[in-house]
């Protein structure tokens, strides 16, 4: 992973993380939004401008790739590079979780 990608995407925003996480299977923007709402009991909702902008940026940076179009909706999926970023993030969050569970001494 080049340092520019690392600087932009590690650590990631919650929005960015969920979008990348959902794109492990091909999905379109609105579908991602619905999945995220369900996963977070409605606590994380992503607006269309933010969804569109984030997808466009991730596609430009090579984290996701356009697969095909369905009823005017573009479907994307994660790339190798995106996978690498996602795994790095998951490891970071796991560490965060572990440390916070152990308590402060």
């Amino acid at each position: 992973m080049d340092s520019k990608i690392k600087r932009i995407y590690v650590p990631m925003t919650e929005t960015g993380f969920y979008i990348l996480f959902c794109l492990q299977k091909p999905q379109h923007g609105y579908g991602i939004g619905q999945m995220v709402k369900e996963m977070t009991d409605g606590e994380v909702s992503i607006s269309p401008g933010t969804m569109y902008g984030t997808l466009a940026k991730m596609e430009k940076d090579g984290l996701i790739v356009f697969c095909h179009e369905e009823n005017k909706r573009k479907l994307y999926r994660i790339t190798e590079l995106g996978r690498e970023v996602l795994d790095t993030e998951i490891r970071r969050i796991e560490r965060l979780y572990r440390n916070s569970r152990e308590g402060f001494v």
Partner: protein, 183 residues
């Protein structure tokens, strides 16, 4: 009673939030926006008074079907576009949580839009000011052009300078408010 009206209102590139509030008020008074005509003509149609939220996105493209579909899926009706601005609206009654009334849900993408306005609108305006307007004014003064002409051109230059400064300061302030979490 007339069923349509066209209003001329000047909003700078930094006044999009004021513009959103004004359009919402018009709709509440029974006038819904139907079309924008450059540079700043707003065409309205009489309608049932309703509380409708208006939001502007700045894209510098006339939009593609995928983009409009995304907004439609989220319940935003596309109204019109004008000089890079895209106008969307959604009835306030459909908004059950705060984010549903916004087209941007995080700071990064709000900042991206302001950055985009600065880069594609402010920068060219500044370049025109520094490379054309001011040098030409100096040239006219030095050459001793007709006083009426120099005064006329000076007034224009000052107005231009004021607008560029006004937009620059306002956009910069918006950016700072976003970065410090005050907006």
């Amino acid at each position: 009673m007339k069923d349509t009206k066209t209003m001329l209102r000047f909003y700078t590139i930094a006044d999009f939030r004021e513009e959103e509030i004004w359009l919402r008020e018009e709709h509440r008074n029974g006038w819904k926006l139907t079309k924008m005509r450059p540079p700043c003509f707003f065409r309205f149609e009489r309608c049932e008074p309703e509380d409708v939220i208006y939001r502007l996105d700045f894209k510098n493209f006339s939009g593609n079907s995928d983009y409009f579909q995304m907004f439609a899926d989220y319940g935003w009706e596309y109204v019109s576009s004008c000089l890079g601005w895209l106008y969307f609206r959604k009835p306030a009654a459909e908004v059950t949580e705060e984010n549903e009334g916004e087209i941007f849900s995080d700071t990064a993408t709000k900042l991206d839009m302001i950055g985009h306005i600065m880069k594609t609108r402010m920068l060219p305006c500044l370049v025109i000011l520094l490379c054309c307007v001011l040098p030409y004014l100096c040239y006219a003064v030095e050459e001793g052009d007709a006083i009426g002409y120099v005064v006329f051109f000076s007034v224009l230059s000052v107005a231009y300078l004021y607008l560029v400064l006004y937009c620059g300061v306002k956009l910069f302030r918006l950016k700072r408010e976003l970065e410090t979490g005050k907006y």
